[in-house]
Symmetry: C2
Subunit: 464 residues, 2 copies
């Protein structure tokens, strides 16, 4: 077996071909025709996905790394050449390819809404076109996971949430990026060890049923694990009988106390989690083990967590896997990447009744005196900002140079938490906020420009 064809791999250079073929054929045609004027594309979401009331931006750091390091290797060019339809002129262009554009973006962890540009790329047409697929793939996925996690975290009402999803995530990169985006969205950590190494995210783990089964008795298994991990033992107590498991855990915890150690917690993965968690808490408390935490897991999501807490479940940690790592109730985010300006001026596309806002734009966030969110205003970048607002989009790349130091993941997480604290409660309910009532305004000037272009292009299309 050869090496490279087997496992996918991802870095600055070899991501060049992670692009839809049509980006390259269009680029070739532009190249042959010298159609390489400066253009601006907006990456934005047309509508909220089902059940969601807001979106959280994530993935920008990977986008920046990609844009800064994007190169076409000799192998990539040889592959394209072998397809037989690319021009030598274009392949020569790719050999020298560097991304030279200017990019503005909403920082990671910030809340955004449909219609607002999350990433705005101003670059020669060919460059702007070639990067489309990777930008959409990255921003769509990570923003979707950060958003889903935020919902789960809201439902947990202050209890910790841990990402337990790697075995159900969509491949290796997904497992890494779910850990990253879910940390942004509010998880305290992940079970994905590689994400700990790569991103510095705290890693969490307990034990599997097979560990308990590998010993003659449950008590023996618990004693062994507590002995091996005296500062870090979370015991899985539902392999046989959960309440008996809790009693065994209590025995081991008392033995640990005698050695000057503390059992970290117990985990329940099945059964009636509300009733069992209350009974387990009681068993532990009666032994003076109020410090031993309870972790619940088992196909959890924001709805089940809401119910568990509403019915009086006693929990310190939620381990959430499949539903968080695949955003199961809404597993795709429909970001699009649309031309909004080129050498013909601001552009719109009319077909399908979906009007795109033209021109290079900024999004202003308006807060009230108490710091709570009032509304967003989408405006052309040369317009004066509304009173009491701050601009969401920041310049992250200028003429191909990164001009933005991505904050640490902890700072991104803190930014997300702050943004959530500024959002009125209505947006944080499980039931989605009516999208048409979300106060995202278009500035009067941008509105007038849009109307004028609709008129112009409707006329133009009539004549086409």
């Amino acid at each position: 077996m050869s090496r490279s064809p087997i496992l996918g791999w991802v870095d600055g250079e070899n991501m060049a071909l992670l692009t839809d073929l049509y980006e390259l054929t269009m680029a070739d045609s532009y190249c042959r025709r010298g159609k390489n004027q400066v253009t601006t594309f907006d990456l934005f979401i047309r509508h909220l996905p089902p059940y969601r009331s807001y979106l959280i931006a994530a993935g920008l750091e990977q986008v920046l790394y990609y844009l800064a390091h994007l190169r076409f290797t000799p192998e990539a060019i040889a592959y394209l050449d072998g397809l037989g339809f690319f021009s030598q002129e274009f392949l020569e262009y790719l050999r020298r390819f560097r991304f030279t554009g200017t990019v503005w973006a909403i920082p990671e962890g910030e809340i955004f809404f449909p219609g607002e540009p999350v990433v705005r790329v101003t670059a020669p047409r060919i460059e702007a076109q070639i990067v489309e697929t990777f930008l959409l793939n990255t921003i769509n996925f990570q923003s979707m996971i950060a958003t889903k996690t935020s919902r789960v975290v809201q439902a947990a009402k202050g209890r910790a949430v841990v990402d337990f999803s790697p075995r159900r995530d969509h491949g290796a990169d997904a497992a890494l990026k779910v850990a990253r985006a879910s940390f942004i969205g509010g998880c305290v950590g992940t079970s994905c060890t590689l994400a700990g190494q790569v991103f510095g995210i705290p890693v969490y783990g307990t034990m599997a049923h097979s560990y308990v089964m590998s010993f003659e008795t449950e008590l023996e298994a618990f004693r062994a694990f507590a002995q091996d991990f005296p500062n870090n033992a979370l015991l899985l107590i539902d392999t046989y009988d959960t309440l008996q498991g809790a009693r065994h855990a209590a025995v081991v915890a008392k033995e640990m106390e005698a050695r000057g150690q503390r059992l970290r917690g117990v985990r329940l993965d099945s059964g009636d989690l509300v009733a069992l968690s209350r009974q387990v808490r009681k068993i532990l408390d009666e032994e003076g083990l109020g410090y031993v935490k309870i972790l619940l897991s088992g196909d959890l999501n924001e709805y089940k967590i809401h119910t568990i807490l509403g019915q009086g479940g006693v929990v310190d940690f939620f381990g959430v896997g499949t539903e968080l790592g695949t955003s199961r109730d809404s597993p795709s985010l429909g970001g699009v990447y649309k031309l909004v300006e080129d050498d013909m001026g601001p552009r719109i596309k009319l077909s399908e009744g979906k009007v795109t806002l033209p021109g290079r734009k900024q999004v202003y966030r308006v807060l009230d005196g108490k710091g709570m969110w009032v509304k967003d205003v989408i405006a052309l970048e040369e317009e004066a900002p509304p009173a009491g607002s701050y601009p969401l989009l920041v310049k992250v790349m200028e003429r191909g140079e990164v001009v933005y130091e991505p904050p640490s993941l902890r700072d991104v997480q803190a930014r997300c938490a702050q943004a959530m604290s500024r959002l009125p409660q209505g947006y944080k309910e499980l039931k989605p906020y009516p999208e048409e009532e979300i106060p995202v305004e278009v500035s009067p000037y941008l509105d007038a420009l849009t109307a004028k272009l609709v008129e112009t292009y409707t006329e133009l299309e009539r004549r086409t």
Copy 2:
């Protein structure tokens, strides 16, 4: 910005930490206690996911590569050491780690059902435990996508289906692996250029609306593209008015004919695809352009394709993106990895009322005289095969050595097509086949062993 923390990367060595932390803590405990006897674990699916009537195995080639190349680098070990709770003995063990187990698996492209081991790992306990997460991540994801694709391909009734999903897939590895697994499931190709390079999958592309918009008129855009790609031009005709677009495409096709060229096709991405495709076909046919293919796209899935064809839509190609690449109606496959045998003999786990079949097993597929599938029988490997059956599981690794040459992707695709042709029609409908009626039998001997172990362990647990 440093290099590695930014983009995820995947290969033989650095996937060692793509594992849930608990695999490593359990392994450490086994290591300290010398609990490294030979065990057998089964990877299987407990129940069919919603709407599905069968599953298609995919991901084995990546699993084999991983098992053969799994190493813990000094950096990985330094990271684990820094966590502060792993024993030096275990870290030393990891430095010398090689996977030395024997693995049986259902070949890629083959159909399988719940309860059947897809991968069976016999290895020292520590090795078998450490590989769990990667195996589940890989087999769950690729099998899910191959299965989803198979449904879409069935609905397309012989028309070609192309993977258009990269911008909505869950990260970079997902885009690559969706292209691979969807090719196994029956796609003719992908828009993911990297998958073309890495896996040799045929790549397909058309053009975006922004290309058409970059010219003064649609006709001018079509002429340019046809000139640049005379053998490979698929024109997107819905940027302005689809029927007018079809007429423009016909004009260009006639001009190409005059140059001895042939327009490959047109693409419709919006509107009433049934009515429009019929009208477009008529426009093309009236110009003698019967050879120009029609490609439909735009949030398609098996249900919409079924409806489009049922209502008389005229189509040669379907481009399917989001729904295929995320398996949107069922975006996770709940594969589990369970201990079935260790030094205490065949094992079962009783809790949660989910009985696991014990021991090292084989699955026999029984065909009738015409080669149609009759039933599967799960049996212990030492049992005689049922008459007229063939074994599904093949030995792919023996004592750490790969003993199986993964077939080419085209051969895997052909195997899948053959398996589908042997499956009765009832399984291929959009409506799911009742899971309880699927003829997957447990051999009498395995059944008796299971019953005996249930009795033994129920007694044992009562005493625990």
